[in-house]
Structures are given as C-alpha cells and as structure tokens.
C-alpha cells in the first residue's frame, strides 16, 4: 500500500502513543498483582515459607531504612515465618516484634532508625534502657569466651574536639559493632586471632578505617565534606558527588536564597565557576543572559539548556519561584552534558524543585519587603554649564552664541529625579511539606510584586506549585509536579530611543511634563506639544506583558526484578503570553494613538522512558541506562492592532474603536525532536570510575538527510585518595582526577531553516489590499547539527580534615559547523541562508574553593570562592575573515560596523578608530592624517593612521575592546555567632569593555542637549579678548556644533567591577517556648543588595549592562539601559 508521509506520521504517532499507554498500564498492573495475588491466595506456598532471620532483617533494612547491630553468630540459624512480603503499612516495631520475639530475641532502640538486637536472656539491665548510652550491646553481641580482645576508646569531632555520640563502630567484614555513648566512648569485643579493622561511621562525618595497634582507640572523625556525599543530579539520574567523573557545579537552596532574588537566573550569578550571568535589562522582570564557559554559537542561541525536574524547558526560569528550588546543577563539560546531546553544547542547567519530606506537615513562611534605589545618578550639566557649552560649540564653527548670559539660565530641572523613584518590592511564599511512606507532598504559593526604579515599570508574579510523590509499593512509585505561574510586567522603552537616554539628554531648562493646568506643555516656538517628552512617554504609554504558564510533569517508576528500574515521564507545558501596547493621544506631537495586542501561545509536550540497571559485584559496580525521549512544541501567535482612537479610555481593550484600519497577523511553527540515549558507568573499588554516554537526536529543523546527530562522550576519574598507598597520607581527605571528552550539538535555530519557503506579502494591485506569495527562504538541504567537542581535565580534593575543598578544571571547547546566517550575494534574490560554517573556540580554567575557617559551638565562618577564566576565539568563518555582528543599533547606523565577528578575535569585539589624544595646535591638526568629513582643528581627536597611508579610512579601524571579561567570579563568606548569622557575597569581573553608545547623545559636544558633566574638562582654546587662558585636555574634545563623530576608543570604557552583591544579617530563634507553647522556628534578617560597587565605569549607571546581550554578539553595549538598583530589605522566615 502506498501511504502519504503525513498519513504515516500520524499513524505511527498514534500507534506509539497507544503502545506507550498500554505498556504503562500493563506494567502498572503487573507489579501490584504480584503482591495482591499472594494476599488473595493464602495457600500460596511462599506464605508459610521460613525465612532466615538475617534475611528478614535485611529486608526490614531495605523497606524501612533501619540499621541493626547484632551478633551474626547468634542469629545465624534462626528462622521466622513472619510474612515478609507484605510489610507495607506496618510499623517497624511490629515487624521486628514479629520476627524476633518468637526467637527469644529483643531489640533495643538506640537512636532514630538504629536498633541493637540482643538475646532476651542477655537483656538484663539494658532491657529497660531508654538511651544508647545505657546499653552495652557489645557484651550481648559477642560471645563471652574470655579470649576476646576488648577495644575501648572515644570518638571526637576532629574540628571541635567535642565527643561524638551515636557513632557506629563496627568490625570490618562482620556485622559486629556498637555505637558510642553520650561521652563518645565505646567498647567492642573482637574474637582473638583476628587482625581487626575497625570502621567508624557517623552521619555528617567522613568514615574512617582504623587498624588498631593497641586496644585503646581514640580517634577523631572529620566532618564529611558535605559536597562529597551530596547526591548530584546528572540528567536521567543521580550520582554521589564523590563518584562524579565530570565537571558539574551545584548551587544549593541555601545559596539560592542567600540573595533576595526574584528569578532563579539571578542565583547563578557568582555562585558557580565558569558561569557568567549578565542582566540584559535590569528592569523588573527583565531578561538575563547566562553563559556557561563562554558563548560558542554566533547565530544560534547560546543560552544553556534548561531542564526543570528532568524536562527540557523552552521557557525562561522566571516562572519559577526561587523558594521552591531544592538545587541547581550546572553541567559544564561534555562528559556531563552529552547525555543531553543535541542541546547540551552551551551547558545544561538542571533545576530540581523541592519534594515533600516525610513527617507531619511543616509550614514555612518566607517573606520580605524592601525597596530599590538608583545606585548613582549620572553627573550631568547644569543649565549654565550647558549653555556655556552651546556657546563654545557655536563659536567653534563661527556662529554667534546661543545666549550671551548663560548664567541666567536657571531652570535646573532634574530629569533623573523625575524619571526615577524609590521602588518597593514585596515577596512572600508559604509552603507546606509533609507526608508518609505512601505519599509525600510539597505545595507552595508565592506572590511577588516589584516596582521598577523608573515610573511605570513593574513586575509581579503569582505562582502555585504542587509536587506530590507516591509510593504504591516497594517497587512502584510515581509523582506529579505542577507549577502554575502568572507574571505581569510593565516596561518602558529603553535603549537608543528610550526614555532614560532621552530624559538624561533633555535640557535642564526644559519644563516638566504638565503645566499647572494639567495639560502637556506646549512648545512656545512651534505651538506644538513638547515632542514626546521622555517622561510623558514613560508615564503615559502602556507597555504590558502578561504570561500564564503551566509546567506539569508526571513520572512513574518501577523496580523490575532486583536491579532494573524503569522510569516513564511525561510533561505538558502550555503557556500564553499577552503583550499589550497603548500609545495615548495625550502625548501629541509626534504620533497619534496606537494600540496592539499580541497573543503568543506555546505548547510543548514530551515523553521520556528509560530503563536503568545497577549491579555491584564485589569491587565492581556497573550501571547502565538506556532511554528514549520525544519532544514536540508548537507555537502560534496572533496580533491585532489599530490606530487613531478617539478616546484614551479603552487603551488596548477595544481595538475595534480605532479609526485607523485594523491590522491583523498570525503565524505558527512547530518543532520536533526524537532522541535515544544511553549511559554506562563502571566503578572499580571506588578508585577507577568510568562513564560513557551516547545520544542520538533527530531534529525536525534540519535538512532531510541530516536530521540525526550523534553525540558520544566518555569520562574517567581516578580517586587517588582511595588507593591503598594513599591511606597514610592524612593531609588529603579526598583527591580525585577527572578527564572527559565528548561531543554536543545545537539545533537552536528557527524551525524551517532548511526549507525553501514562500511567504505572504501584502499587495496593493487593484487598489485593494491583497495577498501575494513571494520567495522568502532558500533551501539548504545540507543543514546539519552544530557540534561542540569539549575536552575537560579536572581535579577535586579536600584537605585538612575536609576543612578545605578545592575543584579546578581546564577545558577546551571547539564548536564547529556553526549554524550561521551565511551571507549570499543578493543578486541571487536571497541575502542569507542558514548554513553550517566556521568554528569558535573556548578555552578556560575554573577554580572553586570552599573552606571552613572556624567551626565551633558558638562561632563558625565558612568561605567559598570561585573564579573562572575563559578565552573565546573565532577560528574560522568559512571564507570571510570578518562579518558584521549587529545591525539593530543606532551606533551601527551612525558609524557603520561597530561590533565584529572576526577570525582570531573573541566573538563580538568592538571596532572603530584608535585615538591618540587631541590635536593641540592648528599646525598639528593640519599635519595629521585626516578622516574625510572631520574638522581639522585643535581640540579634536587625532585618529591613529594604523596603515600609515596618510589618511584615515575604514582600513584604519581596529579592535577597540572585548565585551567578555578576562576573568570573573564570586566569593561568599558566612559567619554565624550563636543565634546571629552574617553573610557577605561579592562578585567581580575583570577585563571586559563597555561600548557606551549613549555618548552619541550625552557626549556629543554640540550643546544641543544635556551632556555628562565630564564635558566640563573639554579642550578649550585661549581667548585673548577675555583673557581666558583656555583649557588643555588630551582626552575630551572641544565643543563643536554638529561634530561629525566616528566610533573610536573614546566610546570604550573599562567595565571591570567588584561588587558587594549581598550583605545579610540574620537572627534565628529556634525551639523557643513561651509559656510552654512552642514558637515556630523564626529567622529575621536584613539584607542589602548592590550596596557597594568598585568600578571605573563612568558613562552609565552600572557596569552590569548588556543591551543586546541575549545573543553572543552585541554584549557590553550601554545605550541608556535600565539601571541596576540598590536594594534594602527586611525579611522573616518562619517554620512550624
């Protein structure tokens, strides 16, 4: 039979769906049946089967997580008929009674989940013991044959020297063991003739093996390197940090919450080595750019892949409430990211949200209130200074002064004071967590409202989360995670024509917004209303973005047989975004009213199924994972607009009431991805760790024959500290070398990039609006995956009893087959086509140190520090040596290419003329090389003639700066003294340049509009008539009306900074009772953000700036960007 391809697709999909469903159903039936069946058939032989007590206890351990100390010899030949198959819902005590009592054994509660099993006869005084210290299980568990060696001693904390109670002391290779009492003392009897090895272990401490030389054993346990025993999420699974073979940074919920942040992206800043976070706009709800180990794509998106609770997300993190987050893992090297193959090339950010914790419901309330302030005002001219400049500017070109009395220009309107205000911010989260063995839940409600520094800008978010996990049986578990969020943002226009730049360049003599009668001021010379006053623009225009999104996911997990786990997950992420705009009639002058509403709907679903297997045979541990994932996302948008409204009442809510002709447009696109992946790990004796991953991805975006990309990786770690020869080197508690290599891909270009498409074009023929179809995009059937191959070598170690832990990585990342808009000769009818071309290299070093400087009962001090160096270089562009990087900037229009992608240079370097000071005399100016159109005068720039051809041409343009820092990092110091805690968080970066294009307005020396106060230092000629000696300057040129400027290093500033990002002082009240009533655990804190900044950056509000920074190029441009604010706040956290 012949099938149409689409037909087949639909059928296949349907069939696959059905199969998956059937498969899930059948499996979910299969497991419960196994147990239920037995219940229903009491004659089943298994029911009456005798189980060895030791096996039964093992089972109890498996099910309840309890641990036992007992003498194996005594229990060896004991059996129980207790029903071990159906432990669900029973208490551990009941089960133990059932197993032990018939055998005349009893159990003693030592501490949580910890029991000692002794013979009924030997209970003696210990039988009514309440505490571990009152029993001496050793005497019960070891045959008293007089030949035993008795080891005695005490265990203390290595850092505080405090005795440790409850430490498990056991004889290696046996079940013989005991625990320490309150004073940290223990006694353990060991049969003679054995060469005993004692194992000491305790939660929160590094385990220790001791081969005692004598029977007195006094040891100190080092607190565990928390990070090492942490479980790290690695993508389709977890691994203990100690077993990692790849480079992964983890950010805990404590790190996330230490700065009062509104979106999760902010938590990444300064907390992870090799992650560079830049606010592309500091406006509330503004975009944030994240780069992991430098940007490697030119056109394709460079943002790391976001995976929220196991599922890739196309959304930003802004819909998530930071309080809901348990941890964030940043997968950096290819060994870690290749399991995400197709989309891992820019790093992967794994976000894990909080799950319910077993126990009674715990309610947490977390709220803060604060306010934001402008960090600094730009120093601008006063009216008098401005008019003096204007006079100078006119004098330079031989025109009469604007006014002979600049000193009478007294209206000093402070436009910044009118634009900016103190803006409050309120954030509150209430969460409830709890559950039992069968079900656990975490639910939370969050509301955030934040006013912007600039009038009319604000952001709010309301979010509800519900994470529920179920254990149906020992082997079947499931869960649902839902996050519903609604955000609303009002923005203002920023950038080249934005309110900030316009306000700052407005003359201080200009009036404010409204005259005393409440109308807009009318320009007395033209009779027009003041042309779109920046204030009017900011205040009167409505620019709103509302987003409603649901992230929903469910998983079902089975343990099949002993070592297999099957997991099936599915998500649906619908989101709706409404963007509304209204420009009212009240601002006349330039424009009449206009309004639009744009709806964007995105719907993404995915399903992943994986099977994992883990097995340990003696010193060999294996794990295998195989899986498949399918993702599909559909986007469509609809926009309607109108103009010329007779009233401002409706804003954008009644588009039909406009007198203009309504406009309407819509579009839709779809993207699909099909993937298979696998991972194999092998661990020999905790010393040699190997991991291999492989992923195959098929993306709908690529050309017919190139849809599939294959992404392998391999990594290896050598845990030297576990080598026998290393046992005696006490300096190192842990030492591990890692090396990995892998290949990743990127398909982050628009769908349909490989296809030849026709687009609709409005037509006017016939005098009516019609639709034509025109050639739009050329096909490139060869379009294939962008690939990034990455090598990483790292070392992890901790020393001085885990006081200091250290991680360092070197990486070399080579991105080839870049997805690029390849420029075509326009004579073909096309200007660009998506093509794989060129390569980019990133090399870097990362260091992270965590140190517990002081840790005792009343005072502790910890420091964590990270720093990263990245060198980015374009190595090939497939022909041309340079291409223009940005097109949508006024600086680009004014000066030509100001940002370049050039072979041998970092991505997006700044480009223009070098200056060598100013001409000081007419003679110098006459002799100098000339730029066509530039005045030849003293006091203007001396551009450097790079090629020495006597004139300044395009050929003399050179690289002026790099927007990427040479290095960046962060440092956190936490102090705790009794109930107080204090933390200081510093971030810094060095060596990046900022191109301040707002100078085209604020430093243009024309005197037409207000300027930065720095122009006061300008070069001025001497005036013999007035006796003014003038002013020499070699950096700030003279006033010149209509100065024909060129892009030069004058526009480039050093963007390095060191910033105290957060200072927090907190006070904790735990376990307090008032009149016998237990108070909730309370924490009060005050915090300040961006309190102090050390930077040389002068021309803009803040060095954290990147106007066009969402791409790899166009970063580091300041053109009146929304300024980063200072914030002070007070918060309360309560837990009960």
């Amino acid at each position: 039979m012949i099938m149409q391809p689409n037909d087949c697709s639909a059928k296949c999909m349907k069939l696959t769906g059905t199969l998956i469903l059937l498969f899930l159903l059948s499996v979910s039936q299969a497991y419960p049946k196994e147990t239920f069946a037995q219940n229903r058939t009491p004659t089943d032989q298994k029911k009456t089967k005798k189980t060895p007590v030791i096996d039964a206890l093992k089972k109890v351990t498996e099910v309840f997580g309890t641990q036992f100390v007992y003498d194996r010899g005594l229990l060896e030949k004991k059996f129980t008929t207790y029903d071990m198959q159906n432990l669900k819902g029973k208490s551990v005590e009941d089960v133990l009674k059932g197993i032990l009592y018939p055998n005349d054994f009893v159990f003693l509660y030592v501490r949580n989940n910890y029991y000692t099993i002794v013979s009924k006869d030997n209970v003696g005084a210990a039988s009514d013991a309440k505490k571990a210290s009152e029993i001496n299980p050793v005497s019960d568990s070891v045959p008293k044959n007089g030949k035993d060696q008795i080891f005695k001693g005490s265990v203390r904390d290595a850092t505080t020297s405090q005795p440790l109670s409850g430490v498990t002391v056991s004889l290696k290779g046996t079940s013989t063991g005991t625990t320490t009492d309150n004073a940290g003392n223990f006694t353990l009897a060991v049969r003679n003739g054995q060469k005993p090895v004692l194992l000491f272990s305790n939660v929160g401490y590094e385990p220790m093996e001791v081969t005692p030389g004598k029977t007195d054993v006094n040891i100190s346990l080092s607190p565990a390197n928390g990070a090492l025993s942490e479980v790290v999420v690695v993508g389709y699974g977890t691994v203990k940090k100690r077993d990692l073979t790849t480079s992964i940074s983890t950010i805990s919920s404590e790190d996330i919450m230490k700065t009062p942040i509104t979106t999760v992206e902010q938590a990444l800043q300064g907390n992870a080595a090799g992650v560079l976070v830049v606010n592309t706009s500091a406006e509330p709800g503004g975009d944030i750019s994240i780069r992991v180990r430098g940007g490697s794509s030119i056109k394709a998106d460079n943002a790391p892949l976001l995976v929220i609770d196991g599922f890739t997300s196309d959304q930003t993190l802004s819909s998530l409430n930071p309080s809901d987050i348990k941890s964030i893992e940043i997968l950096k090297d290819a060994g870690a990211t290749a399991i995400y193959g197709s989309r891992g090339a820019n790093g992967v950010i794994l976000v894990t949200t909080k799950s319910g914790v077993k126990g009674k419901p715990v309610v947490t309330i977390d709220t803060y209130y604060g306010f934001q302030e402008l960090r600094r005002k730009l120093p601008l001219l006063t009216s008098q200074q401005l008019y003096e400049l204007a006079n100078d500017a006119k004098a330079t070109i031989g025109l009469p002064p604007v006014t002979t009395r600049p000193d009478t220009m007294t209206t000093d309107k402070d436009w910044q004071a009118l634009m900016f205000h103190r803006a409050p911010q309120l954030n509150g989260t209430v969460s409830v967590s709890g559950g039992d063995n069968a079900a656990r839940y975490y639910v939370s409600v969050n509301y955030l409202t934040q006013d912007g520094l600039i009038i009319s800008s604000d952001y709010s978010r309301a979010a509800i989360r519900s994470n529920v996990d179920f254990n149906f049986s020992k082997s079947v578990s499931a869960g649902i995670k839902l996050n519903l969020s609604q955000t609303s943002k009002h923005g203002i226009q920023v950038g080249d024509n934005g309110s900030i730049l316009r306000a700052n360049s407005t003359n201080p003599t200009d009036k404010g917004l409204l005259d005393p009668s409440g109308s807009f001021y009318i320009d007395p010379s033209t009779g027009d209303p003041i042309t779109t006053s920046p204030l009017a623009n900011a205040q009167e225009t409505t620019n709103e973005r509302k987003e409603l999104s649901l992230q929903s996911g469910a998983y079902l997990q089975f343990r099949i047989l002993k070592n297999f786990t099957l997991r099936s997950e599915a998500t649906i992420n619908p989101s709706y975004r409404l963007e509304n705009y209204y420009f009212p009639n009240s601002i006349k002058g330039d424009k009449v009213s206009s309004a639009y509403e744009k709806m964007t709907r995105a719907s993404k679903w995915s399903n992943a199924n994986s099977l994992s297997y883990a097995k340990t045979i003696k010193q060999h541990s294996f794990s295998l994972l195989a899986g498949q994932e399918i993702t599909s996302s559909f986007n469509n948008n609809f926009q309607a607009g109108n103009t010329d409204f007779s009233t401002d009442v409706f804003e954008f809510y009644n588009l039909g009431s406009g007198n203009g002709l309504p406009t309407v447009s819509s579009a839709a696109s779809e993207y699909k991805l099909l993937s298979y992946f696998g991972r194999a790990t092998y661990n020999y004796s905790d010393r040699y760790l190997f991991s291999f991953t492989y992923r195959a991805d098929g993306s709908s975006k690529f050309g017919e024959d190139n849809k599939w990309g294959y992404f392998p990786s391999g990594s290896f770690a050598w845990r030297v500290s576990n080598e026998p020869f290393f046992k005696n080197i006490n300096f190192f508690n842990d030492l591990k070398f890692r090396v990995s290599y892998g290949v990743n891909g990127s398909d982050r270009i628009s769908p349909y990039s490989s296809q030849a498409l026709y687009a609709t074009r409005a037509t006017s023929i016939g005098g009516v609006l019609g639709n034509g179809y025109m050639i739009d995009k050329m096909a490139n059937k060869d379009l294939r995956w962008e690939k990034t191959a990455e090598f990483d070598a790292g070392i992890d170690f901790s020393v001085l009893k885990n006081r200091i832990s250290f991680t360092a990585d070197y990486y070399l990342k080579n991105t080839t087959d870049l997805l690029l808009d390849y420029a075509l000769p326009a004579a073909s009818g096309y200007t660009t086509v998506s093509k794989n071309i060129g390569s980019v290299e990133n090399r870097g070093l990362e260091f992270a140190i965590t140190s517990r400087n002081v840790s005792n009962k009343s005072f502790s001090w910890t420091t964590s520090f990270n720093i990263a160096v990245n060198r980015n270089k374009v190595t090939d562009l497939g022909g041309p040596t340079e291409i223009s990087a940005i097109s949508n900037s006024s600086a680009n229009n004014k000066f030509g290419n100001v940002v370049l992608i050039k072979v041998g240079q970092p991505l997006g370097v700044f480009y223009g003329y070098k200056t060598d000071g100013l001409y000081q005399t007419q003679e110098e100016a006459d002799k100098g090389a000339k730029l066509s159109g530039m005045p030849v005068l003293p006091g203007v720039f001396r551009y450097v003639d790079m090629n020495n051809d006597g004139k300044i041409t395009d050929a003399d343009k050179t690289i002026l700066g790099n927007p990427q820092p040479n290095w960046n990092g962060g440092m956190t110091n936490n102090f705790a003294y009794k109930n107080f805690d204090f933390s200081i968080f510093i971030i810094f970066q060095k060596g990046n340049s900022i191109m301040n294009t707002s100078f085209t307005k604020l430093m243009n020396f024309s005197g037409d509009n207000n300027q930065l106060a720095k122009v006061l230092d300008r070069w001025r000629p001497a005036n013999e008539l007035t006796g003014d000696p003038g002013q020499a300057s070699n950096t700030i040129p003279r006033a010149y009306k209509g100065y024909p400027d060129a892009m030069s290093d004058f526009y480039i500033e050093d963007g390095s900074y060191l910033r105290v990002k957060t200072l927090t002082l907190g006070y904790n009240l735990n376990n307090k009772r008032v009149s016998g009533v237990k108070l909730p655990d309370l924490r009060f804190y005050v915090s300040a953000t961006n309190l102090f900044t050390l930077t040389k950056y002068y021309g803009g509000y803040d060095p954290e700036v990147s106007y066009l920074g969402s791409g790899s190029v166009g970063a580091g441009i300041d053109n009146g960007s929304y300024p980063t604010s200072k914030m002070y706040l007070f918060g309360i956290k309560a837990k009960f």
Binding site: S9, K33, T643, S764, A779, Y830
Partner: protein, 575 residues
C-alpha cells in the same frame, strides 16, 4: 508496517499473560520487548515524525499550481518593486535625486550615510547603496520565479500566461534598468536560484544587461494587456514607454548620440502618442491628487495603498515633510516628517512664480495664529509637497503613487528625440511637444509659457533638460537624465563652483516665496488664511553642494556586503 504488526501482536500477548496470571516473571521480559519495540517503531517512524509541518508559510514545492498562484506570485513582485521606490523611498531618492543638483540633504541632518552621498564620498559600506542593491535583486528574483514557473501551470491559457509573464518581465526590465544605470556592470540573474552553489554569479557586461532589458520589454510589449487588468498593473504601453526610454538611454550622450537608437526610441514614442490613449491632465495638481489616481496621463506608477500595510504604503511624505506640523487640521497630516532632504536652491531658483509647479510641488510651514488665522512665520526651508496624502489617516503609510512613466515624460522625450533627429513628429514639431507640457504648468496664462521656435539644437537641449528638471523634480529622474546625456560631471562641477562662491559671500543670498491668501480645504470646515511673502532661513543655502563628483563616481561602488558574500570585483576607482 512489519514492525507495526509485530507491536500489535506483542500487546495482545501481554494482555493474555496478565489475564491468565500464568507466569508473572515473564513480564519484565515482555516489558523489555515492548520498550525495544516502541523504540524501533519510533525509529521506523523517524522520517515522517521529523518532517516539518509548515503552517504560516508555503513550501516552495507546493506552489505554482493554479492561475491564482500565478497572480499572487506576480502581485508579490509588484509589492517588492515598491521597495526601490515609494516604500523604502530613502534608498531611491538618496541614490537618484540627492546626488544631483535637484536635491540636498537637509542642513540640520547629521546622519552620516546620507551626508556621504551628498558630499560624493561614496563608501561601499553605505547602507543606502547596499539596501538598494538588495531590494532591486529581490524583485528580480521574484520576477524570475514567476517567469520560470508560470509556463508550467497547466490550468492557464496562453494569453493569461502572457499577461503574467509579460508583466513580470516588465518589472524585471525596470529593475535591471535601474541596476545598470546605477552600478554599470552587475550580475545578470535570470534563473530561479535553488542552491547555494547557484548563488555565485559574476558581473555581466552592461551590453548583455541591456539586451535582456530590451528582450524582456519586447516580450511585455507583445504579451501584456492593452489596458491595465487591475489598477497598478503594467500594460503594453508601459512596456513601450519604458522601451523608448531605454533606447534613448542607449543613444548615449549628447556628444555622440546613436541615431539608430534614437530612431528606435522615436518609433516607440510615436506608437504611444499615436495611440491617443493618453493625455495630460489639465492641471499638474490633478496628477498628484489622491482622489484622481489612474488619470489619463499615467502610464506606469508604483501603486500604493494608504493605511493598510507597511509593505504596500508609500513612505515618501514622511521623508519629505518638515520636522513638525503645526496645524494638522489644515494639512491633514497627523505626523511630522523627517525632513530628510530639501529641494536645492539651484532648482528652487528656476521656478517662475506663475508656474503652477512651484506651488504644487512645494510647501512651507504654515502656523496657526492666536487669532485663528494661518500665516507663515519664520521657518526654515521649502519642503517638497508632491506626495501629500490628506485622504488616508495612517501616519506612516500613505497611498501616494510614485510615477515611473507619465505622459508628460513621453512628450518631453519625444521633443528630445525630434530635436536630436532634427525632424518633426506625428502631431507637431519639438516645440509643440515641449510647449504642451509648459502650457499645462502655466495654467493661468499658458501663452506666457510658450518657448519661441528659434532655438539652436544645443539651446533646445538646455531648455528641454531644464523643463524635465522642473517637471520631474522629486521623481527620481534627474540623475538618469544627466547621465544618459553625458552631462552629470560637468553640471555638478559647475554647481559646486557656483555654490562655493555663494557660500563665501559675507551675506548669503535670500530665497523667498510669495504666496497668495486662500482657503485650506478641510473636512471639518475650511479655513481661510491671508497671503504674504516669506524669506527662508539661511539653512536653505547652507546645505547646497560644494563638492563635485569624480569620473569614476558615475557609478556607485559595489556594496561591501555583496563583495564579501562573493567577490565580483569592485568598480574602478573605489579600491
């Protein structure tokens, strides 16, 4: 399909197993099998699952199936041609008029790239140059798609196909005519480009390009409709008129004119005039009146719609109008313009006050006085007012058509050809045709405009060229007139010399306008205003050109971006 069946079987098998509860430990194996089968099915499906479904575009392979497809493909060509014309009019006017003695960059403008053109400092990086190049070739590529694909549409008659292909060829010829005049040798693209390797095209000699233009126009002449099939569509008369102009251009400069080409041109002009299908509208103002579109004088125009869409609207008013509009109730303009350029003082001085065109083509700033009257006060400069649309309301996109070929052009070309060939035309001599245009311009006293029949060939050339200047100001004709007659360098050098001298004077000359009182028509009640005389600001003089082009600047540089994409070699003089 095999896999599918297998999968179904497995499902059944599994069900039976679980029902009979025979062997529970079989199930994991089944699960394995099933998982693998599922994966295999997905793999088997991969081709179709990963195929892209296109929603808001049309895949090229699905197009060109019907007469409607042909029409919408053709109409898109028309829309694209608006780009080097009224739509992205800066490219058009900066490249055609602003480098001539007719138009200057407005004094207070500081935009570098416009200044570069004004000062004959052509940079290959200039985006006006690149944008023009790109938009011309985009139209050509779309025309190529129509020309190549329409013949394959089975459901269309030969005549229908002829119309569509003829018009596409007309548009292709028009765009190549611009390209070859502006850049000289350019790549000649007449195919549908389907792969990256096909995008590489070398320059073709100008002669080859002209051959294509002529053969395209001959095809259009033979196949287009006699009357426009719809407003805005080209006809055989559009093709004949353009062909006449192409021949006239090919006739070469005044110094060595090719008689064969002049004769060919004369034939085509003769055909157009003899058809009696076209007449001059009585008043020049009528031609540009929004309510009187599609007049008897119109032969081919870039046809625009106002209010509806940026793609099909004209943006000329925005670039011609001054920076602020004081009395929207009078001008019906709800928006200010960008005052992108002004008429040159040189052109302004040529207009006689009795010339209707001096009032129709230009306006100046009128301000509402406190007593409710409208008066001119101290303002800058005149602004071109040919393209003012008071009918549509949108601020950005208006319905002003840009004339490409109008009957007055035919008449003046005819007068030129008759002068060059020293002969007499179908309805009269060269003076007759020249005076037809002049008399219409001086409608209040037509006889005063008549040029006496006593001019030498050279004097007639001067008079005629001046008349073309006055008539077609701000229509993008001046550069091509100067270039085809070989006078561009000399005229511009002369202008630069004169302007430099003027600007060196201690007192700059004053330029004035005398305007009569009148009534502004206004839907909400007409407003009367009194007449007066107004002297323009010195800014008007100060933007006059003082630089002259060099010989190599007769053509623009090949845009840098184009050379970067594929190096076809820069035009001489620009390296």
């Amino acid at each position: 399909m095999v896999l599918t069946l297998q999968a179904k079987c497995t499902c059944l098998e599994l069900k039976q197993n679980s029902n009979s509860n025979k062997n529970i430990y079989m199930q994991p194996k089944l699960i394995f099998l099933l998982t693998i089968t599922t994966m295999l099915i997905l793999a088997g499906c991969k081709k179709s699952f990963l195929d892209e479904n296109v929603y808001s575009n049309i895949a090229a392979s699905n197009f060109w199936k019907s007469a409607d497809d042909a029409k919408s493909g053709l109409y898109a060509t028309y829309t694209l041609s608006l780009s080097f014309g009224p739509r992205d009019c800066r490219n058009f006017f900066v490249l055609t008029d602003m480098i001539t003695d007719d138009m200057d960059d407005e004094y207070s403008n500081t935009e570098d790239e416009r200044r570069q053109i004004q000062n004959f400092n052509f940079s290959p990086n200039n985006s006006y140059i690149n944008n023009s190049w790109v938009s011309l070739y985009k139209t050509i590529a779309q025309a190529n798609a129509v020309i190549e694909n329409v013949p394959r549409i089975a459901t269309m008659s030969a005549t229908e196909k002829g119309y569509v292909i003829g018009e596409a060829k007309f548009l292709r010829a028009l765009e190549y005519f611009y390209l070859v005049q502006l850049w000289g040798e350019v790549p000649l693209d007449t195919i549908v480009v389907e792969s990256i390797s096909q995008t590489v095209m070398d320059k073709s000699p100008a002669k080859e390009i002209y051959n294509t233009i002529v053969s395209d126009l001959k095809y259009a002449e033979a196949n287009c409709s006699d009357a426009p099939l719809a407003a805005g569509r080209a006809t055989i008369w559009s093709a004949k008129s353009l062909l006449a102009k192409v021949y006239l251009t090919l006739a070469g400069p005044f110094s060595k004119r090719n008689t064969d080409m002049l004769t060919l041109s004369e034939q085509k002009l003769n055909e157009v005039i003899s058809s009696n299908k076209f007449t001059l509208v009585p008043k020049i103002a009528d031609y540009f009146d929004m309510n009187k579109k599609r007049s008897s004088e119109m032969i081919y125009e870039h046809y625009c719609l106002g209010d509806v869409s940026d793609r099909v609207g004209s943006f000329m008013h925005r670039n011609f109008l001054p920076g602020s509009i004081s009395a929207p109730e009078v001008t019906q303009l709800k928006t200010a313009g960008y005052k992108a350029w002004t008429p040159s003082t040189d052109l302004w001085s040529l207009y006689k006050s009795a010339d209707d065109r001096s009032k129709m083509y230009y306006s100046w700033y009128i301000k509402k006085q406190s007593d409710g009257t409208f008066k001119n006060t101290q303002q800058n400069v005149p602004y071109p007012a040919k393209y003012v649309d008071s009918v549509t309301v949108a601020r950005d996109y208006k319905a002003n058509n840009l004339p490409v070929l109008r009957y007055s052009d035919i008449l003046l070309m005819y007068a030129e050809v008759l002068n060059e060939l020293n002969t007499t035309g179908v309805g009269g001599d060269k003076y007759y045709y020249l005076n037809l245009v002049r008399k219409r311009a001086f409608s209040s006293n037509p006889t005063s405009a008549v040029v006496a029949s006593n001019l030498t060939m050279e004097q007639f050339r001067d008079t005629l060229m001046r008349e073309r200047r006055l008539e077609f100001a701000q229509e993008g004709q001046r550069l091509f007139d100067l270039k085809r007659t070989g006078t561009f360098i000399s005229v511009m050098t002369d202008l630069a010399t004169r302007n430099s001298a003027i600007l060196k004077q201690s007192t700059l000359p004053k330029y004035t306008v005398t305007y009569p009182g009148g009534v502004y028509p206004n839907p909400s009640g007409s407003v009367s205003y009194s007449g007066g005389t107004y002297t323009f600001k010195d800014d008007f003089v100060k933007n006059a050109k003082t630089k002259a082009p060099q010989e190599f600047q007769l053509v623009y540089p090949i845009p840098y971006l184009q050379l970067q994409a594929y190096n076809i070699g820069q035009n001489p003089g620009y390296n």
